[in-house]
Symmetry: C2
Subunit: 210 residues, 2 copies
DNA sequence: TTGAGTTAATCAAACGTTTGTTTGATATTT
DNA sequence: AAATATCAAACAAACGTTTGATTAACTCAA
């Protein structure tokens, strides 16, 4: 019973924090949106700060698991790994669009230092995994001698940039305001194809048209 | 006299907003940082909201000018335009790191709708200019048939991603915490080279090693 | 099965802070 | 002497949080 309600509050909190920011969201607003009493947030989480920590904690572990598994997989070539990773990232980030936006905002905020430190480590660790795959590809002379760290930044940055705001994304794609890019499978595939193609050109010595 | 002090307050506001967010920054904090009385912000700008509008208004015009000039320039090939644009973007965004972070945050925030609408239009118009250059390159068969809109997202996203936070950027590059990437010319050149190389591979039919 | 006793959950109301803003007096400049 | 700039102090509103009463859910001997 308690777990369900906690999750219920957390889900509404994620959506609100992503939209309006941490400081921009009041407990009263959250309580109203989630249809619970204002006291419930402090009852279940202790404080607004701990609520945000609970949200991050819950999702943090899940992130790196798939990545480390992929890095260790010996049956895939480096470019196959990169391709899978791009598909994975795009799909997961689109599925949790508001959560990703929320993380991004927290990462840019220096006010709550412990949270930023924690998130930075989490993000950087993931980036390191991807960079390792690229480095291995370079060692094997399958990849060109690109900048691994900045290549990672380009992959994640490409995705994150279109996730900034639905309104901006639609304007960029010249779609009507009513378009819902983050739940549209056509856009998902378009984004995956673009980044994969770009990375093929960027990484592979000989352009590989597939 | 009044203009100087207004600019003085605005500069400190930009730095604080970028760090701590709009709602995360109090007038008292800003006043203390800028060494002015708390009443001065409202005296000069009317309100905190109008202060943020003044900041955006001031810088908005400057952005698109260089871009439209570049687009119209007939003495440059499309790839030369892209190269210049990348150098321009990186240099300008690094120079105004905290301002760019501030804009990014505002763009993601749906609370102050008019500001978001205004910023979205400003960003999207710039993106459209760049996309036009890419489209012309495709028409001329100088460029491959890439996705113009998403290619723009990759260029700007690559830069923006490393601008998220100094701490994250240093971890990504495996530099010590004390490193100052946003004022380090070596990093500026490294970032320009990476994006230019990536775009050369991505856009040009035949890889052009320079 | 019952029902008294214990714990957990919910709520409206109030608490102390902090917020952006305004005021009215004082200083400075023109 | 008129206009502009600065200031400490006070203002109302909103904030996160706590309280104490009330209700629901669960426990387990009789």
């Amino acid at each position: 019973m308690a777990v369900d309600k906690k999750a219920h509050i957390m889900n509404h909190a994620i959506a609100l924090f992503a939209d309006r920011g941490f400081e921009g969201t009041s407990i009263r607003e959250l309580a109203h949106e989630a249809n619970v009493n204002v006291a419930m947030v402090n009852y279940y989480f202790g404080s607004k700060e701990k609520l945000v920590e609970a949200i991050i904690d819950e999702k943090a572990a899940y992130m790196k698991d798939r990545l480390e598994e992929l890095e260790a997989n010996e049956r895939l070539t480096e470019i196959e790994k990169i391709d899978r990773l791009i598909e994975d990232y795009v799909t997961r980030i689109l599925a949790g669009a508001s959560f990703h936006k929320f993380l991004y905002k927290e990462l840019m905020d220096t006010k709550r230092e412990d949270i930023q430190e924690f998130l930075t480590n989490s993000f950087a660790r993931n980036a390191k995994s991807v960079a390792s795959i690229i480095e291995k590809g370079i060692q094997k002379k399958i990849f060109k001698a690109v900048d691994p760290a900045l290549t990672v930044a380009s992959i994640i940055g490409s995705i994150s940039h279109v996730m900034m705001s639905k309104r901006y994304c639609n304007k960029l794609l010249q779609k009507p305001e009513t378009n819902e890019p983050y739940t549209d499978d056509e856009f998902r595939i378009r984004l995956i194809n673009h980044i994969q193609n770009m990375m093929h050109s960027h990484l592979l010595a000989v352009s590989d048209k597939s």
